[in-house]
Amino acid sequence: MTITVKFFARLREELGKSEVKLETEKPLTVAQIWALVCDDAPLPTPILMAVNLEYVDQNYLVQEGDEVAFFPPVTGG
């Protein structure tokens, strides 16, 4: 199954990528997706995560076609 993974702001710059497509055989949690895309690097803290444009936690199970996003604490307003 194909999953889209996006990164924003400081995280996007540090990783040097804004979006990757991931192919997996089985459903994965958000934390497992991070490990796959970032060569088993530990999940940084603090970090925020979203699936299909809604906040989730790292144990959320990602499904076929989902869009996963990782980003730092927000600073708008």
């Binding site: 924003f8 444009l53 809604e54 980003f71 730092p72 927000v74 307003g77």
Partner: protein
């Protein structure tokens, strides 16, 4: 209810007036509480020359609609408006406008405060400052 992400300079007071003029039942409005945020030319003791505001197209709008819905359910208010600037921003430019209309002032104040506080702590926006020495990401929101 209106949410808008805007990449050009905007005039909050004109936007406020235009939106209020378009409201259905103007004569039941007794109060409007507003918050307008402006870019400062300094932060954490440093002079800031300009700011870049990044967002998450799709999620940011969705998030702002969801907190507007929450405000409309939680308080006795009539309508809400949120406009947020993105992209390249200069000191003095307006960054955000939040407004809540109600029959009475208490729910208008409370809903407006909730919207700007929640926006600042949870809505996906990120500020990157340009200083004379270089650039840096702002690491956390200022206290209310």
């Amino acid at each position: 209810m209106k949410v808008e992400i805007i990449s050009n300079e905007f005039k909050p007071w004109e936007e406020l007036q235009a939106y209020e003029t378009g409201l259905m039942d103007q004569h039941s409005i007794g109060a409007v509480a507003t918050f307008v945020g402006t870019m400062r030319d300094n932060n954490e003791g440093d002079t800031v020359e300009s700011l870049f505001l990044e967002y998450y197209p799709g999620m940011t709008e969705k998030y702002l609609y969801s907190i507007s819905e929450t405000a409309l359910q939680r308080w006795d208010i009539l309508d809400t408006l949120i406009i947020h600037r993105v992209g390249q921003i200069q000191p003095g430019d307006k960054i955000v406008l939040v407004a809540a209309w109600a029959k009475h002032r208490a729910p208008a104040f409370d809903a407006c405060r909730f919207l700007i506080d929640d926006l600042k702590s949870r809505a996906p926006f990120w500020k990157k400052e340009t200083l004379s020495e270089g650039v840096r990401w702002v690491s956390s929101s200022t206290l209310g």
